[in-house]
């Protein structure tokens, strides 16, 4: 991949960002917002005139009120700092932010909260606790126009004006540079346990998982691992988890061999699932498929008929991580996924492959046109680039 040749800008404030944008405006060049750089490979090849806007100096927790369940911080704050501060008060980011540094070959890069928000990928608890988008309460930003603006607030229940926070999540810094944000936080469960089941193939395993998810036992995460085992996670107060664990074990006894793991062992398993550790140490192309859970096993089976692949199913089957040998048959993958009503991200690929394929899921014509108009509203001159998208203004 062609690297950004010019030295990155490292603003220390919103004023600095504003100045950088005005300079870019004058020079007719553009900026690329970067947090820790974990997902840099997904942003595509940078134009020669593009400079990185490195937010690592805009960092730190500004206001944490555990009893209000709200955390305000600056965008460049490293995720591990956030998690340490929350753990001290027995709380967490419930959307379970993943760390893809190893998966994306960015070892050593430190995921920042801004990067988590910008890319919008949630971890395994998304199944029960909501997506990244569901936890951003408000923010301050500098738009591609160079205007400082804010939206949302620091409270959970807020319908005052349009919910611009939703647009920031997953926009990859292509609309505005978020400098400060407020996140909803939740109590960390006191105890966790995971029931592991060995049974048949993925379609059988996922059917079992769906039965568990249809029960009132409050399953918090559910995955079918690359080795075929299903994992069903329960969290909460110990007395409650133990009782639910008994019931889940009972539900699966007749389906295959079952066992339960608890606390640290369970947490470690889910960290690996969330971060897709199983595909981290090889060089295969990795797709991230979002599907209606009932279709997941069928879609994977159809793809597997034409191309060797291994799948890890999370979110009860609704999220599929697919590792493929050799070339990435994008037409096949995206075709099957879209027939089933889903979409596919190209998460990891050699530079040559990435140059040929869209990283972000392609959108239909109407949504593309609307997205372009949204982009123009924030960044009419495309000073912030297209990120992984292909609907930017100047393309």
């Amino acid at each position: 991949m062609q690297t950004v040749t010019r030295e990155a800008l490292r603003p220390g404030s919103a004023d600095d960002i504003q100045a950088a944008l005005l300079d870019a405006d004058a020079a007719g060049s553009s900026l690329r917002v970067i947090g820790g750089g974990t997902r840099r490979s997904m942003m595509g090849v940078a134009a020669a005139s593009m400079r990185e806007l490195d937010l690592s100096a805009i960092s730190g927790i500004t206001n944490y009120e555990p009893e209000e369940l709200v955390l305000s911080l600056r965008a460049g704050t490293p995720l591990h700092e956030v998690e340490a501060a929350l753990a001290e008060r027995g709380q967490m980011l419930a959307f379970d932010p993943p760390d893809y540094a190893a998966l994306l070959g960015a070892g050593g890069a430190r995921t920042t909260i801004g990067g988590i928000i910008g890319s919008g990928f949630a971890g395994s608890r998304r199944l029960s606790a909501g997506n990244v988008r569901d936890h951003l309460l408000g923010f301050d930003a500098v738009s591609g126009r160079g205007e400082k603006f804010r939206a949302g607030g620091r409270v959970i229940k807020n319908v005052t004006g349009y919910d611009l926070a939703k647009l920031m999540v997953g926009s990859w810094g292509t609309l505005a540079v978020v400098t400060d944000l407020s996140l909803r936080v939740l109590p960390r469960p006191q105890y966790e346990a995971t029931v592991l089941v060995e049974q048949g193939d993925a379609s059988v395993a996922l059917a079992g998982i769906r039965t568990a998810l249809a029960s009132p036992l409050e399953v918090s995460s559910a995955a079918c691992l690359a080795d075929g085992r299903s994992a069903i996670r329960l969290e909460g107060f110990r007395a409650s988890v133990e009782e639910r664990q008994r019931q889940i074990l009972g539900m699966f006894e007749s389906r295959g061999s079952v066992r339960a793991i608890e606390e640290a062992e369970s947490a470690a398993l889910w960290r690996d699932i969330r971060d897709v550790a199983v595909f981290a140490s090889d060089a295969r192309v990795v797709w991230r498929l979002s599907l209606p859970s009932l279709s997941a096993a069928t879609v994977v089976a159809t793809i597997a008929k034409s191309a060797a692949c291994t799948a890890l199913y999370d979110w009860g089957g609704s999220l599929v991580w697919l590792a493929m040998e050799g070339e990435a048959p994008a037409g096949l993958v995206r075709g099957e996924v879209s027939k089933a009503g889903g979409h596919a991200w190209l998460m990891r690929a050699p530079v040559g492959v990435r140059e040929r394929l869209a990283t972000a899921p392609p959108l239909d014509a109407g949504t593309t046109a609307l997205s372009r108009r949204i982009k123009s509203g924030f960044d009419p001159q495309n000073r912030l680039g297209d990120g992984p998208f292909s609907f930017g203004t100047n393309r």
């Binding site: 569901d134 409650s240 972000a360 982009k375």
Partner: protein, 497 residues
């Protein structure tokens, strides 16, 4: 009424007969209302202080008809106001004299009950409760439960991002909607999201939720359904002071508990509810708290025991844990009828809807009491304590000259106070026309311009529900100039790298 709405377009007013004829052609003479007598049914929504007869009402049955109506109206420069069940408390569906009401009442079918994927696809006119009714026998329900859930429509819920008493644990509408079909003002049909747990591209679905019918007309909604909890138990607690009740709420949350519901009532609201229904609320306390846990028995019992301990430590003088479903429902009955109960104390009341950081509750109530004396109007408070959403009910008598104006001024001052302490103007009722002119309390001109540019991306001519949310109408072309002015002139002194 002192509210200023966009000036009606005389050309549209004089072309009324032609517009009605055009609508009749599209709907094949079925579902167009054009006579003033029948239009009265549509002259206001749940915010009845404001009334306006629309130009006409169109009641389509299909997405194609919606697209045709919008295209027809756009070609003629006719404004359109979409309407679900008309229960908005902020005037979101208030008609315009030169605008067509697009009623979605005939979009009343549940299209797909997909238990395997745990979603329901419904037309926008289906009621909120209708979705739960459709999946009840399979052990599922739809979680967001605004108090008007018997009547309010799911399409309206999306437009307003409606809440309910279980938001803290289960989220608002926006957190439970996975997809919509939407028709834009130029008649284009878009599908955003679907049966997946995230959607590609910019989160357009996220911006639709809570956009108050200004970006497009929703013709289909896909929602997530949840297995119904096995049990629910509630604690009814009484405190000698609002401070003690507030501290109890903070300690429950600080103690790692996320209750299914947590509601507070002040003395006046409690008295009114008890007098109305005799449910057994303590009358010698300053604040009543209802805390609900749901899940398996072990979960409910454990959580309620913790809550009871925390309440005792915070000086609760009254504590009762529900021992039957009957008793639990009785605890809630008083809270759920708090509005009509307060309504018995006074000929009229004005319901407010601000959100505050929970920790500022005692301060806010204290300041509100001072205002109450100054305005000479009583105020009762019900509070979604779990999420900080406060509903002050201002008691007044519309027949006494000046009281409505005083109540409105009192209400505006309360909302300013909410913003002052770090909260927001509206938690779940929406801005609509009601809080429109207060928006500058929370947002600068640039903040509002950025929101309006999103509106322009969907509806460049500003024909869909104009006059709501934004205090000033700007033409989309004018918004560009805010930038040049603010960006270049305001910071000439900026240092460069």
């Amino acid at each position: 009424m002192s509210l200023r709405m966009p000036a009606p377009d005389p050309a549209v007013l004089s072309a009324r007969a032609e517009v009605i004829k055009g609508l009749r052609r599209i709907l094949e003479n079925d579902g167009v209302i054009g006579d003033d007598e029948s239009l009265i049914a549509y002259e206001s929504d749940g915010l009845t202080a404001y009334r306006q007869l629309p130009l006409a009402v169109a009641l389509p049955r299909t997405t194609q008809q919606v697209a045709q109506i919008l295209r027809f109206c756009r070609e003629r420069g006719v404004k359109v106001v979409a309407r679900g069940a008309g229960t908005s408390l902020s005037g979101g569906a208030l008609p315009l004299a030169d605008g067509v009401i697009l009623g979605l009442s005939r979009f009343n079918r549940v299209l797909d009950i997909d238990l395997e994927n745990r979603v329901v696809v419904a037309q926008p006119g289906v009621t909120n409760l209708g979705i739960t009714e459709a999946v009840k026998k399979h052990g599922f329900y739809y979680a967001p439960d605004p108090s008007s859930q018997i009547a309010c429509s799911i399409g309206g819920n999306v437009a307003e991002n409606s809440g309910g008493v279980h938001c803290l644990k289960y989220g608002l509408t926006t957190n439970n909607v996975l997809g919509v079909e939407l028709v834009t003002m130029d008649g284009e049909i878009l599908r955003l999201g679907g049966k997946t747990l995230d959607a590609p591209g910019y989160d357009l679905l996220g911006i639709i939720n809570g956009s108050e019918g200004m970006l497009g007309v929703i013709t289909e909604v896909t929602v997530r359904i949840l297995p119904r909890p096995q049990h629910a138990r509630a604690a009814l607690l009484g405190f000698p002071s609002v401070e003690a009740a507030g501290q109890c709420v903070a300690d429950i949350i600080g103690g790692g508990i996320v209750p299914a519901g947590m509601e507070m009532m002040d003395r006046l609201a409690t008295l009114a509810a008890e007098e109305f229904l005799h449910v057994g609320y303590p009358l010698d306390v300053e604040a009543v708290l209802i805390v609900e846990a749901d899940g398996i028995d072990a979960e409910c019992d454990h959580v309620l025991a913790l809550v009871n301990d925390i309440a005792t430590k915070n000086g609760a003088v009254f504590s009762r844990l529900s021992n039957s479903e009957d008793e639990r429902l009785r605890f809630w009955a008083g809270r759920k009828s708090a509005f009509p109960a307060v309504g018995r104390l006074s000929p009229d009341y004005y319901c407010m809807d601000g959100t505050i950081p929970r920790g500022r509750l005692a301060h806010v109530l204290q300041r509100m009491n001072e205002m109450s004396e100054r305005y000479g109007l009583r105020v009762a408070n019900v509070f979604h304590a779990g999420d900080g959403n406060l509903h002050p009910l201002i008691l007044y008598n519309a027949n006494e000259p000046g009281q409505l104006e005083r109540a409105e001024a009192f209400g505006a001052e309360i909302l300013r106070l909410c913003v002052e302490v770090g909260g927001v103007l509206t938690g779940e009722h929406g801005v609509g026309v009601e809080k429109r002119d207060l928006m500058p309390e929370m947002f600068s001109e640039i903040d509002l311009a950025q929101q309006m540019r999103v509106k322009c991306a969907f509806d460049p001519e500003g024909l869909l529900n104009p006059g709501k949310v934004f205090p000033q109408l700007h033409r989309c072309a004018e918004l560009g100039r805010v930038h040049v002015h603010a960006g270049r002139v305001a910071h000439p002194e900026l240092p460069r790298f």
